[in-house]
Every structure is written in C-alpha cells, then in structure tokens.
C-alpha cells in the first residue's frame, strides 16, 4: 500500500499531531468517523506513554490489507526504560506514573490486534491494528 507515516514523539504537541494524522489515515482507509475517533484515542494513549516513560520515540502509521479487509496499523517504538511487568502494565487502572492507568489497556480495548514487546533497559514496541468492519 506504500502509505507509511513516521512521526517523532518528543513533545505533547506531537501527541496531538500523531492522533490527527492517525484519524486522517483512518478516513482514507474508509473507517467511520466514530472509529476514526477510536483510533485517534488509541494513538493518543500510546503516544503519551512514550513521552511519560521514555521521553521520546516514534510512531509509524500505515495502511494494511488482509484479503479484502482494510485496516490501519500503528507501531510505537521507544528506547526508554522498558516495562518490567507487562502483565501488570496491561491491567486497567494500574499506573506507575500517577496516571489513570488507561494507557496500554485502554489502547488495547480500542484496537483489534495489540502486542507489547518490551525489554527492560532497551525499550518498548507497541504494535496495534484496527480492521474495518465488513459492511
């Protein structure tokens, strides 16, 4: 599909930019405006996580296809401290940063596919995909 957007995340304005770009890409993929907002919210949560825990990182947005299904894939990469206990980090309401604890578990709820890969001291990669519902 070729459409790939790489967005650096180093300040809170980048969080807004990333979710707006994500919404635009979701619109291109034909998602409803409700689902565009859902995708934007998921991007907002993981982009904020990058800032909060790793200070900087990158989000890549792309269009994906599986058979005749279209979707949006989001990959968030940072070289931050990593997540020591992923199971715990995925619990809704658990936060080590005085947040509401909706970041990772919240984004997972919003997306169809969600994967966290993290190595302590090396960084974290979150990969998530939303598929368009067949009409």
């Amino acid at each position: 599909m070729g459409e790939e957007l790489r967005l650096p995340i180093t300040a809170d304005v980048d969080v807004v930019e990333a979710r707006q770009q994500g919404r635009a890409l979701a619109a291109v993929a034909g998602f409803s405006s409700g689902e565009q907002t859902v995708i934007a919210a998921a991007i907002s949560e993981i982009a904020r996580n990058i800032l909060m825990y790793a200070k900087k990182g990158e989000i890549t947005l792309s269009l994906v296809q599986n058979g005749d299904r279209q979707g949006v894939a989001i990959v968030a990469v940072d070289q931050g401290p990593g997540i020591p206990d992923i199971e715990r980090a995925m619990q809704y309401g658990y936060s080590t940063s005085h947040g509401v604890g909706a970041g990772l578990p919240g984004a997972k709820r919003l997306m169809d596919e969600f994967e966290v890969d993290s190595v302590v001291g090396r960084g974290t990669t979150v990969t998530m995909t939303k598929w368009r519902r067949a009409i």
Partner: protein, 132 residues
C-alpha cells in the same frame, strides 16, 4: 493554544476552540480554578465541542477541574461532548462520574441557573420557628 475564558454573570465559560495538548489542558485547569476565586463565580461551563478526542488525560483533567471548582464553591458542567467522542470514551472505559454533562451551552446555562438557585435556597435559614 490558550482557551478563552469568558465571564457571563455568575458563571465562567471556557470555550475550547481546537485540539488541546496535555499542557494546554493543565493550563486551562489552573486558569479556571484561579479565576473561580478572582471573579467569585458560582458556576463553570467547559465547552468541549471542538475537542477531537477525549483520552484518559483529558477526562482526568476535566474531572479534576469539576472537583477543584466544587471545593472552591462553584459547580461545573461539561457541555458539547460529540457523539464520536462519547463513543470512543465508552470504548476506552472512561467515565465522567460525579461530573455534570449536558448537551450544549444553552442546556449548560440552564443547568447552572437551576443549581445555583437551589444552593441559594438551601443556604437560606429554614422557616422561622418558635413564634406565636
């Protein structure tokens, strides 16, 4: 992006004009809470019609505004949550429990008028007793 805060009688109206960063939201919280005291207002309306997304940080900040304003003697009402935004909030599991939300600015003003009248009424001493 600074959010303009207008004064309308006893109420403050913060009208969000575009997408806000986390810093913008925190700034709005500080500005509103300070102004509740300065202008001795009884109610706060936050109009979120223009917000593209309400994620966990935005929801928490709005909840904080409402609770802090209440501690300062003012009622808060959130107006203008768009259908798509509400949809995403519910999917994300975010609620605004304990915070008043109404459809639009007009409803917001009506709500605050009702609430502040009730409060004035409650504050009045009960029926005079022990006479006659």
């Amino acid at each position: 992006m600074e959010v303009p805060i207008l004064r309308q009688g006893q109420f403050l109206i913060a009208s969000i004009q575009s997408a806000l960063t986390d810093a913008d939201l925190s700034h709005l919280r500080e500005a509103l809470i300070a102004q509740v005291g300065r202008s001795r207002c009884r109610g706060v309306i936050v109009d979120v019609t223009a917000l593209d997304v309400m994620d966990s940080f935005a929801v928490r900040t709005l909840r904080d505004i409402a609770h802090m304003a209440r501690l300062r003697g003012a009622e808060t009402v959130i107006v203008g949550i768009q259908p798509d935004v509400a949809f995403a909030m519910v999917q994300l599991g975010l609620t605004l429990k304990g915070v008043a939300t109404v459809l639009d600015l007009e409803e917001g003003l009506a709500f605050l008028n009702r609430r502040t009248e009730e409060r004035t009424f409650e504050a009045k001493p009960k029926k005079p007793s022990g006479r006659g």
